[in-house]
Symmetry: C2
Subunit: 380 residues, 2 copies
Amino acid sequence: MKKTFQDELKIGIIKGGQLGRMLIQEMLNWNLKSFVLDNDVDAPCRECCTEFMQGDAENFDDVYHFGKKVDLLTIEYEHIHIGALEKLEQEGLAVLPSPRILKIIQDKGLQKKFYQENDIPTADFVLIENKNELTSHSNFLPAVQKTRKSGYDGKGVQKITSEADFARAFDEPSVLERKIDFEKEISVLIARNASGQTATFPIVELDFHPEKNLVEFLHAPADLSKSTEEEALKIVQKLAESLNLVGLLAVEMFVLKDGKVLVNEIAPRPHNSGHHTIEANYTSQYEQHLRAILNLPLGSTKMIMPACMVNLLGEEGYEGPARYAGMEKVLEMEGVFVHLYGKKMTKPFRKMGHVTILAENIEKAREKAILVKNTLKVSA
Amino acid sequence: MKKTFQDELKIGIIKGGQLGRMLIQEMLNWNLKSFVLDNDVDAPCRECCTEFMQGDAENFDDVYHFGKKVDLLTIEYEHIHIGALEKLEQEGLAVLPSPRILKIIQDKGLQKKFYQENDIPTADFVLIENKNELTSHSNFLPAVQKTRKSGYDGKGVQKITSEADFARAFDEPSVLERKIDFEKEISVLIARNASGQTATFPIVELDFHPEKNLVEFLHAPADLSKSTEEEALKIVQKLAESLNLVGLLAVEMFVLKDGKVLVNEIAPRPHNSGHHTIEANYTSQYEQHLRAILNLPLGSTKMIMPACMVNLLGEEGYEGPARYAGMEKVLEMEGVFVHLYGKKMTKPFRKMGHVTILAENIEKAREKAILVKNTLKVSA
């Protein structure tokens, strides 16, 4: 990258979902030009990006030709044609995060091996090629099966409690992970720039929907013992260094009953668990991602106020053009920030937006978050 | 307006400058569609609006045809063809603020008469048709002459200290205003929706350079006596009601040495003196403007933290493609938010961006603001 943000830098983003949209909203503050590649002409980024190109993130030609138009390439989604990214990188384009990291992320098997090789604590696992191999791993039960390559947003993940579940197991290369009896789930965002500077956001605590394996609420800062917090931060730091990360990394972790921490999954980009930073922190995760990939000084990650975040998911039983009931009621509440992603169509559990709630303390923020969740409904 | 924001409401904005750009950044959070009319194809709004139309705000046809494409029409600039707006309003389009108000704003003579008729305290004045009439108003000196129609951003305003200045006076219809010996200048933003709900932001104080007598910074909340604050808020409330305002109104006022308050100028739109609300308040002036024109409940105007705002003006002696020196240094500071407006070309004193500084108290914010001002420079 020879240009700087001074030169109306063209930043390519693959693809054009809500993470890209919120990244672009930040980019506008620094006059950075956004180029977006997505197959969907109605993608959330479409209407606010500088230039939109229709194309497939998993197609070599589409990714390669897109990369040739920009000064720096970043992502808001991991499943991108690695060969195209590698070729662009070889030809001198800054691709951040590096395809080397994306390769690991795209394959949950490689992710687990990476943790193992780098002494990053994670749940015990075995890799299997197909469901027939399950029979030789009965000693792992109860377990969670995760497909190595096709999982996303809770898909490609299922519980294998007993041998009776083998029949309906995924019949593809998978990670079989010993089920963790965890106390809570947390997420930590760390940024690292090319100069090696790192900055970690205050730890976030996640509350999952009991059935759908999707985040329902999150709050920050998390309620953790000092030693658990320190352990989590040490792991995250080690991950960023081992990956030789340039960009932002979200690290989802389990906190066990004894306070120990295990890494669950990582994502080298702005993340659902960092939306609240737009209002709650001095620097948002989106701005921090930009600082990291532009090798600018990283911003203060300090919280301005405690926060709670609610994902606005499409209601069950509705599919079609989205309607938002209860919006006026929610807008009457102080410290409540509604973000709609501009998706035309709702379907059950689709991420349609989020709401961040700031309050003096987590209890008050949570109280309001529950009210918001019970008031604001996305239907068709 | 039959549609609500539920229907991907198309909001027309005349014109496409930085105020429109920051309004659009907020609109993206609620999935509102932005249509922009501006003569300049490089206008700051161009790259982030849903649809851009090239056209002249002061041309009947351009404004009328633009209005026909949208569900609601608002402004970020006052000098718009009133006949076109009136026709659109007669034909059922919601034009907010109303052309009735814009007509008053466009003419500083009508503004002053409006204050007079509605018992709004303002500096003594006379209206003159040309500079020859000045000779009969020597008793008004020292005074400030303001052209009734052509002034903007400090243009069309000059001091007339003695009769010796008559020769270089503006030779057009003007307001001649008795010079005010004020203690400080303040600005208050008030919003009012169609239901009559009003909400006032904490008062903003304009900081003058100790020697140059130039406004350097703005800070909020202002340092005022309780009685001055109450008087200012009463005046602003009265103004919003008298104008039957729907939208946002910025009221610039002088505070006299005895604590009395006089209205200087008003603008029925988001305003330079409200930029800090993006980060410093629960609701930004841009979101509040949207709430007001959409007849939604107005948001809390409470401050999250004290703030200081610095305008980033083009340096003297430079004209050409803009460069921003010192950006990295400024980005190292905590609580500092840089907004660049995406203007390609700089020229002396052109508003190229602004920086908001949050801190525990005004003194600390001011300290950092001075550092920002001395560090970040816009040249060519």
